[in-house]
Amino acid sequence: MSVLEISCVEVWREVSNYIDGEITLDLRTRIEAHCKACAHCTAILDGTKNVVRLIANGIQYDLPGGFSRRLYDKLKNK
């Protein structure tokens, strides 16, 4: 069965939905078929997947020291 081709721009538009698993099976198949023949889109897809994983594990905003105490005092003294 042949898979209907899609363009690079269409692949880029769906990168996020692809990573989140929020696309139809048909579209997933077409994206994967496109990527087999397109090094650019494979690079975009793999790179973005990697970035999403790194963001989840690597972005942390540590609370400044004494944050909880200052918040509690502020509320208490209101």
């Binding site: 975009i44 990697n50 999403v52 509320l75």
Partner: protein
């Protein structure tokens, strides 16, 4: 003498009921487990720890004053995050440093396509690499370089792991808009981090070219 019977932890509903009767301890018990995510939400807008802390404090005080307006049909954490983001936006608008940096950015809508700028073949970067300070710094710099409207969506979805619909509710956007902004944010993050993917995390070096055979 028998041991004291352990008291069960009060439920969120019970704490809310007490907080609505001006019980500050009960209100703080509701807020305290959410401090970190509120701080992260404020950082998404303000990108400065001292300002973010001020915004969280203002938001918590405001939430306490307006608790009678909280309706049980929305989650308390969602409501509190909305107030924190609003306080952070107010603070950003008041801040003279951002006088000419409009949050609304009417000149750049979400409608146009975003085309990736860098097609480097991305090698697998294992999460263990995050122990390297330069990678952490590069990630933080890349997040900081995003326009606020993309940064807030990225942090709510990919750092705090909220769903598309929760993010949409907090930001007052449609789920479709959340998806568009998330796509932009992720692609821009990838472009911003691309100069480091040769492993050196220092842009502009000759090694950088090796991963771009075209």
């Amino acid at each position: 003498m028998s041991a004291p019977t352990p008291q069960p932890e009060p439920t969120e509903a019970e704490l809310l009921r007490r907080a609505k009767n001006a019980d500050k301890e009960a209100f703080y018990a509701l807020v305290q487990p959410r401090e970190r995510s509120l701080f992260a939400a404020a950082m998404a807008i303000l990108n400065n720890p001292a300002d973010a802390e001020d915004a969280v404090q203002d938001a918590v005080l405001k939430a306490f004053s307006h608790l009678s307006g909280f309706r049980a049909e929305s989650k308390f954490s969602t409501w509190l995050t909305q107030i924190t983001l609003n306080e952070a936006r107010l603070k950003l608008r008041k801040d003279r440093r951002h006088l000419y940096d409009s949050l609304d950015e009417p000149q750049s809508g979400d409608e146009g396509e975003y085309s990736p700028k860098d097609f480097a073949d991305w090698r697998e970067i294992p999460s263990e690499s995050l122990q390297r300070e330069e990678l952490k710094q590069a990630l933080n710099r890349a997040v900081a370089s995003l326009p606020p409207k993309y940064r807030e969506v990225l942090l709510l979805r990919d750092v705090q792991s909220l769903s598309t619909s929760e993010t949409a509710q907090i930001l007052g956007l449609t789920p479709a808009n959340v998806k568009i902004r998330l796509l932009r944010a992720r692609l821009q993050m990838r472009d911003a981090l691309a100069p480091g993917i040769d492993g050196s995390w220092s842009s502009g070096k000759s090694e950088y070219q090796k991963v771009r055979p075209w």
